[in-house]
């Protein structure tokens, strides 16, 4: 499952795909919200749909859930067409951004609702409800109404309510975005462990790149209704397929460079400094844009000349902004106790050739 650059309606349908989206499209009167999205999800996989607001990720989730009718394309779950199935019959668990708990029911009643709909006998229902509440660590609050709970607790009830029906797929619509930063991080770890232990196939919609990278097996990066890249978090981060992905997932430096070839020897000329670069990225010579992640740049005795214009202490690491002949550079280095350059210092920047990506000049940011 490697990066598949610029997929647009060309995904091969694998026979063993648990959930297969094929050319899924949603058109509104004045715009296309989702444009021919194709994606195969394996059983037990954790997939994130990542993108800025309005990129179509939530619409995609709503189409899988059945709340929005697709304009075209197919959704197959275990080989069965899902589009014609009513939301109530799809058997999917959904956690909404607003949690959408039933305010007139206690936590236990909320969790029991789905089992009641399945006509599960009362004794079994109670056992499964307390099991689900224990799973999210809320056994003590089972008789409490949602209004009397904190955001994190409501979030757990919503999760328990979605999981108790043993859903075929768990759909999470920005479930952590209403929590504060610390709680969000805790919930990410918990959610990850829970998903791993239950093995529930999960699709998460988020605009938070850290959340997507922390949780997912694979990330689907979306922009303006189209898939930009599908791949493992490391791959998407290290080898972004498009400038959009490079910029959306974390900060990146873009330097103007010039490629020169001398036989097998390929060099990139950045600001008058020649640095080696990986052969596979440069099939042509001439002006290109060279991108490198801030944390992959180190300070060295020689390399690209840079004057530090500001430095910011961020606890676990330092953030430097500097001016180079080829453009502004952002550098991140670990707070490892070693003395760091001061503001105004003249330094040299270096990076390893394998950490560099090249793209055609004027390829846009």
């Amino acid at each position: 499952m490697l990066a598949r650059p610029g997929t647009a309606g060309s995904a091969p349908m694998t026979a063993d795909a648990f959930l297969a989206l094929d050319g899924l499209t949603k058109r509104y009167a004045d715009h296309v919200a989702v444009d021919a999205l194709s994606l195969d999800v394996a059983q037990g996989e954790f997939i994130s749909l990542l993108g800025p607001s309005g990129c179509g990720k939530t619409t995609t989730l709503q189409m899988i859930a059945g709340f929005v009718d697709p304009s075209g394309g197919a959704i197959n779950l275990e080989g069965r067409d899902l589009v014609r199935v009513k939301p109530a019959q799809r058997g999917l668990g959904i956690v909404f951004q607003s949690y959408a708990l039933f305010p007139h029911m206690t936590a236990a009643e909320n969790v029991a609702f789905g089992l009641e709909m399945q006509k599960v006998p009362k004794a079994e229902r109670q056992a499964r409800v307390s099991e689900a509440l224990a799973l999210v660590g809320l056994s003590a609050l089972s008789d409490r109404y949602p209004r009397r709970m904190s955001g994190g607790q409501q979030q757990r009830v919503a999760l328990a309510r979605a999981l108790v029906i043993k859903p075929r797929i768990l759909l999470l619509d920005e479930p952590l975005s209403n929590l504060d930063a610390k709680l969000r991080e805790e919930m990410q770890i918990e959610l990850r462990q829970l998903q791993r232990s239950l093995g529930t196939t999960t699709i998460l919609v988020t605009h938070d790149q850290h959340e997507a990278m922390a949780l997912s097996d694979r990330i689907v990066v979306m922009n303006a209704g189209k898939v930009e890249q599908i791949g493992r978090p490391q791959d998407v981060y290290e080898r972004p397929a498009t400038p959009f992905v490079a910029n959306f997932l974390g900060k990146t430096n873009v330097f103007e460079a010039n490629i020169t070839r001398e036989g097998d020897d390929v060099k990139a000329d950045v600001g008058g400094v020649r640095c080696p670069c990986p052969r596979h990225v440069a099939d042509s010579a001439g002006p290109v844009m060279l991108t490198v992640r801030p944390e992959k740049i180190s300070f060295a005795d020689q390399g690209l000349a840079c004057r530090i214009s500001s430095r910011v202490f961020q606890g676990t690491h330092w953030l430097f902004i500097g001016e180079t002949p080829s453009g502004t550079a952002t550098i991140v280095c670990q707070n490892d106790g070693v003395a760091k350059p001061e503001e105004g210092d003249a330094v040299h920047l270096a990076w390893r050739p394998e950490d560099v990506a090249l793209r055609a000049s004027g390829g846009g940011r």
Partner: protein, 298 residues
Amino acid sequence: MSAVVHMAPRREGAPSWLAPFLMLLPAMLLILGVVLVPLAMTALLSFHSFSSSSGISTDMSLANWAEIVADPYYMEMFLRTFRISGVVTLACCLIGAPEAYIIHRMQAPWKGIFLVITLGPLLISVVARTLGWALLFGGRNGVVNKALMDLGILSEPIPFMFTEGGVMVALTHVMMPFMVLSVWAVLQRLDPRSENAAASLGASQFTILSRIVLPQVLPGILSGAIIVFALSASSFATPAIVGGRRLKVAATLAYDEFLNTLNWPLGAAVAVLLLIAIAAIVIGCNALVEKRYSRMFQ
């Protein structure tokens, strides 16, 4: 309050605890003058006696109250008042609540248009709206009755004027906006995703309405019911026009005693009894609602 007092220059001999009372004084005087004093005078008046030869005498007795309680003629009118109010309240619940929900679920332009159509009648006088009903169904000359009879569909006009049914229909029409407004306010706070959540858990449309939407909207229906009941029981214009002198309710009875029979003490007793009855019912219902829902919505 105290902050304001400290900033203002302190006057000699004006203790700070007095300030809130001084600030409230104008409003309190107004309420005292236009509500409490007339009410107390009306209550006092109900204990005086009246004779057609000597008019009102300022003695104190329970004669008027005894007459109302003992005479089935008066009891019938009170029963009719609350029967009409009860049916009107029920009709407003059954029609107004679904109406509010349907409008709530409408798309953008229609939502606003239908809300204005529903609430618009509030801008028109109750008298004009009730006279509209009289114009349509008033005896042989009512527009609808005349048309139906001319077409040969009916041989007799639909009995509307001077009937309890007619008063109920006209009052339901007059009171409907209050119910729709009350339910609407609650619907605005409803998370639309909770219906989706219920659907994803396997609930049918009927189950969603009965188990998810209705319980959340119930406080709005109940407060709307209290408003509609109180306004219906004390309404004067609609029963006066549709019911007339033949079909009197408590409010028109009090009016008649004051202005036609000139038996002010008896009219006062009727008015005070009506006030007490409505207040008791409304306060009782409200306490019930508060008790039931305080745990959920606070």
